[in-house]
């Protein structure tokens, strides 16, 4: 896959800078120490996941209204990148939870709704693999994608609506919420880095789906030409 050298270098630089800032620049947290620094990868992965699933549902709704395959490509690209980011969040969460809470996992509303979201989008991707007809596949998965997205606001609101083991929201969580300004700056850098990677992956996944579509069109062309050939041969025989 050819990608502009400049954007690849920029994303690589951002990854290195964010890693350095998260490990060495951000101030140490008094109780959790190094484990708190997982925050700089955990929160950006959720932000990237929300962005990817939002792009996916925009693609799904646009496909259902326009029936243009481009929106279907965008839908599947967003869903797959969202699943990758969600997987990262589900791995880094327990790695932070163990030193902070003493347990790897608990079925509290935030964690449970997030796990369900992951399962829903895994099902979305599996569903696409099970339907052979491309139009039907795009239609069915778009409908399922819209349904799956309904869990996203629930995940976001879960630790605002219910008492959870998961910490209260750090941002947009009321007057007591917020972090040290230095932590905030490092987090912003990490968010930009993870979003940069997610955008690069999304564009690659979109190109892959476009190529798959091209392959389908070529197969149809060959089939129709073979059919034409067979018809002309049978006409000659008659």
């Amino acid at each position: 896959m050819k990608r502009p050298v400049l954007s690849t270098l920029l994303v690589t630089l951002l990854i290195c800078l964010s890693g350095y800032a998260a490990l060495f620049v951000a101030p140490d947290e008094r109780t959790m120490h190094a484990a708190q620094r997982i925050f700089y990868f955990h929160v950006p992965s959720w932000i990237a996941m929300f962005a990817a699933f939002l792009i996916a549902v925009i693609g799904n709704i646009a496909y259902l209204t326009t029936r243009s395959p481009k929106w279907d490509w965008l839908g599947v690209a967003g869903a797959e990148v969202g699943v990758a980011c969600c997987t990262i969040g589900l791995i880094t969460g327990p790695l932070w939870g163990k030193p902070a809470w003493g347990i790897w996992w608990t079925w509290d509303p935030r964690l449970t709704t997030t796990f369900i979201l992951w399962l829903l989008y895994i099902s979305y991707l599996l569903l696409r693999g099970m339907i052979e007809d491309s139009d039907r596949c795009a239609r069915m998965s778009a409908v399922f994608g819209v349904f799956a997205f309904m869990d996203v606001p629930l995940v976001y609101m879960s630790n605002r609506l219910w008492r959870t083991q998961h910490p209260a929201p750090v941002f947009f969580g009321g007057p007591k919420a917020g972090v040290d300004p230095r932590m905030g700056r490092v987090l912003l850098l990490c968010v930009i880095a993870v979003l940069g990677v997610a955008i690069a992956l999304l564009l690659d996944r979109y190109r892959l789906e476009r190529l798959r579509y091209e392959l389908g069109e070529l197969r149809l062309t060959i089939e129709s030409r073979n059919l034409d050939k067979q018809l002309s041969v049978s006409r000659e025989r008659i």
Partner: protein, 47 residues
Amino acid sequence: MKNFEYLLAAWIAVWAVFFFYQINLGRRFAKLRDEVERLKQQIQLLS
């Protein structure tokens, strides 16, 4: 640094997921591109 092993594991997990996903995308892309080229040649032969 206390709890460093958790931080290291999380850091590796993040970039491993992204890295392997990128490798996977590259492989799938190369496979499809070869198939597209093969079919294009087949169409040229048919016409």
